[in-house]
Assembly symmetry: C2
Homo-oligomer: 330 residues x 2
Amino acid sequence: MVSSKDVAKHAGVSQTTVSRVLNMPETVKKPTLDKVMKSIDELNYIPNGHARSLVQNKTNTIALLSGPLHNPFFVDTTTAIVNYATEKGYRVNVQFVNDKNLPEAYATAIAHKVDGVILSCILIDDPIFEKLKKMDIPFITYNRKHKNNEYFVEIDNFQAGYLSAKHMIELGHEVIAWVGGTLSVSTFNNRYLGFLQAMEDYKIPLKEKYIFNTDTSKQDITRAFHELIQLKKRPTAICTGADSIALNLIDDAIKENLKVPDDLSIIGIDNVDLSHHGLIQLTTVGSISEQNLGFMAIQQLIEMIENKKNSCIQITESVKVFGRNTTRKK
Amino acid sequence: MVSSKDVAKHAGVSQTTVSRVLNMPETVKKPTLDKVMKSIDELNYIPNGHARSLVQNKTNTIALLSGPLHNPFFVDTTTAIVNYATEKGYRVNVQFVNDKNLPEAYATAIAHKVDGVILSCILIDDPIFEKLKKMDIPFITYNRKHKNNEYFVEIDNFQAGYLSAKHMIELGHEVIAWVGGTLSVSTFNNRYLGFLQAMEDYKIPLKEKYIFNTDTSKQDITRAFHELIQLKKRPTAICTGADSIALNLIDDAIKENLKVPDDLSIIGIDNVDLSHHGLIQLTTVGSISEQNLGFMAIQQLIEMIENKKNSCIQITESVKVFGRNTTRKK
DNA sequence: ACACAAAATGAATACGTAACCATTTTTAAG
DNA sequence: CTTAAAAATGGTTACGTATTCATTTTGTGT
């Protein structure tokens, strides 16, 4: 492998000068610069990023710990994050985390001294939070947040849950179910609490068996669906903890020959890009802002990395209902 | 930052021994090992990946140059690639490439001495091919391939185009359009050629104005759609170069109050996961195999990296039609 | 108790770059 | 011209690890 020393020898200068040509070309005289450039070109020299990272203690790399792409929310955010970071000169190490690989994902991110970590997968009382803070690695969470209530970008999840229930109630539904994710993640927890609050405010009776806070895997959602439709008093509306859950339920409904929204109204939360599609037209609750959470988070993270600003990031975006075709009057 | 030297001092051993504890623990006596482990733990030591990469000339990193995720094909492949590579102990640098950032994407991949490159975005006569080969960096292309016809995993694109036209013809359609991508990528080129061949074999007349080989951006596809429906003799069927194009067209059709498949039959190619969804049920042509191309490619790449096997990879998967609900008899 | 092999440990070095400090060359002022 | 300041360049070192080779310690058979 050709190194800067090889280039130096070839050009008849010192390795230091080669380094300068690459990093502060304005400090080297024109003829020397040309000579070195020519050698770089002829030898096909490309500087070794690891050596550079080692000495500079800067990697230009960001670790992204994302949820799985079969959830379209993460399709939108991953796209925004990778593209923005790439544009700003950072490489992005992506991992799709689940319960199993989470600790290892943290470890590799830290071992490679990434300049920052952006993660959606944090649990409410995840120990990684303090670890990252103590190691002084800039990080931010999007979608979910930690109980410490610092360094996050989220939507107003309580309000989102509230509005989704309110939407169904105002359409005249009385038997309303909830299918959300595990309550150990802030997002689902707050959305559920908002849902409960609306049900209480509007005095809609709610029984235990209409509530599912389950794993978000396809099988588990489908299992919840089948339990719901086997109830003697079948719900006419389902509020869900996320668009991905809503889409899953709609798929299940179609397989059972139930029409959405004629037989069953379903509303999501997140307003993912896919929900706009003509074939889908999912009614959902989402951020008022045009930008998705991933974009806002990566912007903040790079700001933190480059300006070393320490002001704690706490962003909660307002939400509204996007009425489309998967809900209707009872 | 705590280094292996710090650990060594703390444990009262040499740095060499610390290194051994991490890499060949069976060669160090139990009491010493325990001592070192304890120090590692107490000091919260994590080895520096860059220093390791520098000395070993191995990075455990793979560069993934993927197409954009708004194309669901890349959702499937990216998921498979990242998950498999992560499981095998590799980190994955993801970039979503387009015409503009392609050269830079190549450069960063090489600068960081990745162990391998997996790319979908290669052009038929892309100079990167020879470059990677000369630099002896293991690489593989999926979906698309280079004119050199080496190191690729693809579906039988010609056959896919052929079958998609045949499907429409057998349904009785006579005015059939083609909307595909630019012909400088192997995939679209061969799919288009297959389409043409079927039209010729079955003696279906085909006029220039029913053919669009365009950029695959949303706007360009939509533009093609509007040109098609403004023809005096409107096509009753559209064969497309990819599922993403088909989904785009269906969205356009719905916006124009055209019913798919009643007014217009549309078929895709790729059989992406999303096409199964109850709301979508896209008729498409796809690989016979259960595994997606990304999975097959990353498997091959890691095999190349670890076994240094040089046998040239050339995999072409057979295809078949997956009949669903976006096509019907004329 | 001894010799000798085998096991365990340590010291020194290389990897490729940027940064620091020292030296040489050029430029500008008098 | 001379001289001092400024610009350009070079020599050396540090970054944190794995590896090579040398040295010490342990174990084994007689």
